[in-house]
């Protein structure tokens, strides 16, 4: 017999009885199947999490949007107004404004562009158009209807009913609304064009033209220095030659007058009190003379 034949009989040896049972193998096999499936599921989760973390990291590492792009307002200010922007090129910002850390407001970046005064000066201050307090009181009530969950303060007029202010408060803090009026010459459209850059916008304002020819112009959020605050203007150029401008601000009424650099009492909300959409709904109401 050769060695290869010897090897061929190597399986036919006397052996002790096996100790492994079918149940034991099935149990271990099922555990292995479960572990494989759990591993596959965890692997999928790991990949998804990895993609999410990677996308977030890349998103944060990406350069910021150009400063002349929209959506630079506070996060809670929604650009949901359907009005078209005035069809004219945007302007190039000369810088970006951010509130100081001590200002307590939201961390926002606002592109800065120069303020371009209207060619025909507005009649403000001593020559401004006084408004009937009853009319302003009605607009205040309209604001209350728009934001019933907020507390609306009493209207204060100064001086001689030229400027009116009232507070708008909720759990985020107190902001305010200011209203003033002036007379303009010419058509509402021409006057609105003339005042397009008067608040320092970089992008053209959003505009709504009413059936009667009145024009409502919603400007962008702008910084208020030296208060380290923000404001937004809504200008209503009525058919009757009256410009009514309403501004919402993230500080209390009276803060402008009372402010000096050493006064720490200026308090600011992180956002403006009204969203774009809420704020814009005041325009047609005011245009209709309600």
């Amino acid at each position: 017999m050769n060695i290869e034949d010897e090897l061929r009989g190597a399986l036919d040896v006397s052996a002790p009885p096996p100790t492994t049972t079918l149940d034991h193998v099935l149990k271990r096999g099922r555990r292995r199947v479960f572990a494989q499936r759990a591993g596959a599921v965890l692997g999928v989760f790991a990949v998804v999490a990895g993609i999410g973390i990677g996308a977030t990291t890349l998103n944060q590492a990406a350069p910021p949007e150009p400063a002349d792009q929209p959506n630079h307002g506070p996060a809670t200010v929604e650009h949901s107004v359907g009005w078209p922007r005035v069809n004219t090129p945007a302007r190039t910002p000369y810088g970006t404004w951010t509130p100081t850390a001590s200002a307590g407001g939201a961390a926002i970046n606002i592109p800065l562009c120069t303020v371009k005064a209207p060619s025909v000066p507005r009649e403000r201050g001593l020559g401004a158009q006084p408004l009937a307090p009853e009319l302003v009181a009605k607009w205040r009530d309209q604001v209350q209807k728009l934001v019933p969950e907020m507390t609306i303060g009493t209207v204060t007029g100064f001086p001689s009913n030229v400027f009116f202010e009232f507070d708008v408060s909720d759990s985020s803090g107190t902001g305010s609304v200011m209203v003033w009026a002036a007379r303009f010459a010419g058509t509402p459209q021409a006057s609105a064009d003339d005042g397009l850059w008067e608040t320092g916008d970089c992008e053209p304002a959003r505009r709504l033209v009413q059936p009667d020819g009145s024009v409502v112009q919603l400007h962008a959020v702008r910084p208020v220095e030296p208060l380290q605050a923000i404001r937004q203007a809504l200008a209503v150029y009525r058919k009757d030659g009256l410009l009514i401008q309403i501004e919402q601000r993230n500080h209390r009424s009276g803060d402008v007058a009372a402010h000096n650099p050493a006064n720490p009492d200026v308090t600011r909300r992180p956002t403006l009190p009204l969203t774009d959409e809420q704020f814009s709904r005041l325009g047609p109401i005011i245009a209709e003379g309600v």
């Binding site: 010897e6 090897l7 190597a10 399986l11 040896v13 052996a15 193998v25 099935l26 271990r28 292995r32």
Partner: protein
């Protein structure tokens, strides 16, 4: 479940065969049992993708590779014994099977695996190469060296098919 039924039938008919194959490789019944058990556990996990006609070869491949892995990692099993043996491991063989297994243990693990697959399981050189995951030439050289070592370890002049 159909999976369990089919696997149970396969286990019942082939576990002892797998255990004896493992024993031919490692010459230790305890380790052979463990190698065979691990091979069947792996086969259970893959059972839906294993064709019934190839299941035997699948388990044999796992047993062989588990054995080679254990030797490659240097994790030779310890063999705890209650009493010292009567004689040394190199002498005193009266059982021809034990003598052949002792001689096989003198052959290097991969050469031993090649011998077991080629002659114990009567696989072709190509089949052996596929199961070991190496080339045909490698199987030929491993087999030749393994046979030479085995003849020397066996201690008696024996004929060889290879001349």
């Amino acid at each position: 479940m159909r999976r369990d039924e089919e696997f149970s039938e396969f286990f019942t008919s082939r576990f002892d065969w797998a255990r004896r194959t493992a024993y031919a490789l490692c010459a230790d019944w305890s380790e052979a049992e463990e190698l065979a058990q691990n091979a069947f556990v792996k086969a259970y996990a893959k059972w839906p993708s294993i064709r019934r006609e190839t299941a035997e070869g699948y388990v044999r491949t796992i047993v062989t590779r588990l054995f080679l892995d254990s030797r490659r990692r240097g994790r030779e099993r310890e063999r705890p014994v209650a009493d010292l043996p009567e004689h040394g491991v190199s002498g005193g063989f009266t059982d021809p099977d034990a003598r052949l297994n002792a001689a096989l243990q003198q052959v290097a693990p991969k050469q031993r695996a090649a011998l077991v697959l080629r002659f114990v399981h009567d696989l072709s050189i190509e089949q052996t190469a596929a199961e070991l995951g190496c080339s045909v030439g490698n199987v030929k050289s491993q087999t030749a060296r393994g046979l030479a070592t085995l003849r020397e370890a066996y201690g008696e002049p024996v004929n060889s098919e290879c001349g």
